[in-house]
Symmetry: C2
Subunit: 382 residues, 2 copies
């Protein structure tokens, strides 16, 4: 790819991604849906204008995923998570276990081999904190009881999904036994625990050191280098790089310069994350999806909704609008997409299955906010 | 290059570039010198750890150059330039013409062909606004008469150097006649004039439109797309992409959201510009410089100093410390490096000559601030 080519393709990628993102936004859907659509439009399915297999685009999209998970980690608050309490723990944990188990079971029944079934289950586990939080925020519901439960659960289920992700990505293809799963589980816990434990001590000292530097941009460049090394480290111990990125964000969220770091990284993330979503959409081959897979697809879609909604109905506590909690948990997003793209690039899932899963994620992501909007409007009128 | 490779190499690039930049800073040299050193260390000359011919690194370094010139344009103030007055116009113009002419002449005498001689002259034309401004600022001299003259002249000579650059980059190899030079000159003036003229009308409307968008990051992504398209446009009309980037910055500097844009782009530039300077240094092959070229190198170095200093001695006006003006104009930087790297990638200059020029730029950039520091200290004591 020449530099001119890069300029032209990147400019159109940004314009179309943000343009469709804006349209999605106006239609009360999350911008992510628009960016994925942009990818489907620009990629293999239709225009063939953005080649997701190009090295530079691939690296930029992976950097986008890393910055996204870093931001999610940075925005999380370990204390807030504790406050969310029992209701969140129930909704979050059951909301991971039920869809995972159901999707795994259905996939096995439909003839997928066990590693594939595990990955398909994994893709459905994580609620998108970003999507749900944005809808609640738009409607001025962020401080409600329901919102607390949803956000606490979504945060918890992101962590659980990342653990699922770490475990799944460390299982070697065609080699599933109970030992490596247990090993991975403890490795993930150990890595996250150690990284955050040691990191919480090291990070403030690092930031302090960086703040003494006089060179322009030393803080951002230093934090970025730290983030890249952390991502690499998590890869080295056998986990996905984004797990390291998430841990890195989490531990920097406790330093006093958190807001400063967040502000500095926002524009970088704004530049890089569209690459992630567009490349994700660009890999979809709509033409590869066969009509014969429709019954399976509909079942998985149903599981994606029902599996996440079920726990919400049994939430403990009074005066809670359980419908809001249930629907609020449905949208999937970044973490599921990351798992799906991992399974594609590691040849665990075929292109057709990958395309199907991305479409299912997109459907949850644009239906749920619509329903939630209506529910919140009704409730507001009471 | 695998993603792991990218993570490791980029993390070390950032750490070493910023580390050496910091050391340079403490030794009262500009950070750029440290970043170039980092490149020489990491590249062809020594460690072979960063491969400047890799597509992704190349694209990121070009993006770094674009963001750098965009920032320079954004920070400039057309009105301030006007105020700087006659003294600046004299120092700026003569400071471009004299070193250009002398270096061209010497190179011809030493057997370089005419296009090479023109490029070598071009590399020496532009004073680094950034380096000089930073030294003046550190010493609290930014609002002095001398500082006004220097900065006005440096701004003007950046514009002149960009016109020289536009002209030189549009001359085809081995085909120098007066016609294309005149054509390019008017093309450059026309492009800059039209771009800025039309742009000044269009830019506020564009920013206004972007501000109405609700999607996160729409302003930055939109401005970035605009910047990339502008860079591409300038390439299409036969100028270097950075000329377009500079024009784009210049015309956005007049919008009310300038500070907002500047703040947003700073971290992105902090991430990308180290790639530019490091890749620039990485292309240097120290081993290729022959001892026999020493007399030529010393002469060019002399011209680089004397040619820029001469006009300062004849600055009109009273009560001006002319030594400060003369030395303040010496440091070269970004624009010269860009021209040097263009001549290398377009095979106009050999690797040995390129390496020589980069080293000469580095010498001006670290000697001049040292002398300036001493001069300013002496003057402060009076």
């Amino acid at each position: 790819m020449t530099f001119n080519d890069f300029l032209l393709r990147t400019a159109s990628l940004l314009i179309i991604a943000k343009g469709l993102g804006e349209i999605a936004n106006r239609l009360r859907m999350p911008a992510v849906v628009g960016e994925l659509f942009a990818g489907i439009l620009l990629g293999y399915s239709f225009l063939n204008w953005i080649d997701p297999s190009n090295e530079t685009f691939y690296i930029l999209s992976e950097m986008g995923a890393i910055l996204l998970l870093f931001e999610i980690g940075l925005e999380m608050d370990i204390d807030e998570l504790k406050k969310a309490g029992l209701a969140s723990v129930w909704v979050g944990t059951a909301g991971v276990v039920i869809p995972f188990f159901l999707a795994w079971l259905i996939s096995l029944v439909f003839g997928y081999h066990s590693l594939q079934a595990l990955f398909i289950g994994g893709v459905l586990t994580a609620t998108s904190v970003g999507v749900t939080a944005r809808v609640l925020q738009e409607r001025g519901w962020l401080r409600s009881r329901e919102a607390n439960i949803i956000l606490g659960a979504a945060v918890l289920d992101d962590v659980l999904a990342l653990i699922v992700l770490s475990i799944l990505t460390s299982i070697e293809l065609g080699n599933i036994s109970i030992y490596p799963i247990i090993r991975s589980f403890f490795m993930a816990i150990l890595f996250l625990g150690l990284a955050i434990g040691v990191g919480l001590k090291v990070a403030p000292a690092l930031i302090k050191l960086l703040m003494t530097l006089r060179t322009r941009g030393a803080l951002y460049a230093g934090v970025l280098a730290f983030l890249l090394l952390f991502s690499l480290l998590s890869q080295v111990v056998g986990l996905a790089p984004i797990v390291g990125a998430f841990a890195c964000g989490l531990l920097l969220s406790r330093t006093e310069h958190r807001l400063n770091i967040e502000k500095g990284f926002t524009p970088l993330a704004d530049f890089l994350t569209p690459f992630f979503f567009v490349i994700m959409g660009a890999q979809v081959k709509v033409g590869n999806i066969e009509l014969s897979s429709l019954p399976y697809a509909l079942l998985i879609l149903l599981v994606a909704f029902i599996g996440k909604m079920l726990p919400g109905f049994f939430v403990p506590g009074r005066k809670i609008n359980r419908w809001i909690v249930t629907v609020g948990m449905v949208p999937r997003g970044e973490v599921g997409l990351i798992l799906a793209s991992y399974s594609l690039s590691h040849k665990i899932l075929a292109e057709a299955d990958y395309s199907l899963l991305v479409l299912i994620i997109m459907i949850t992501t644009f239906l749920a906010p619509l329903i939630l909007h209506i529910l919140l409007k009704e409730k507001s009128l009471q």
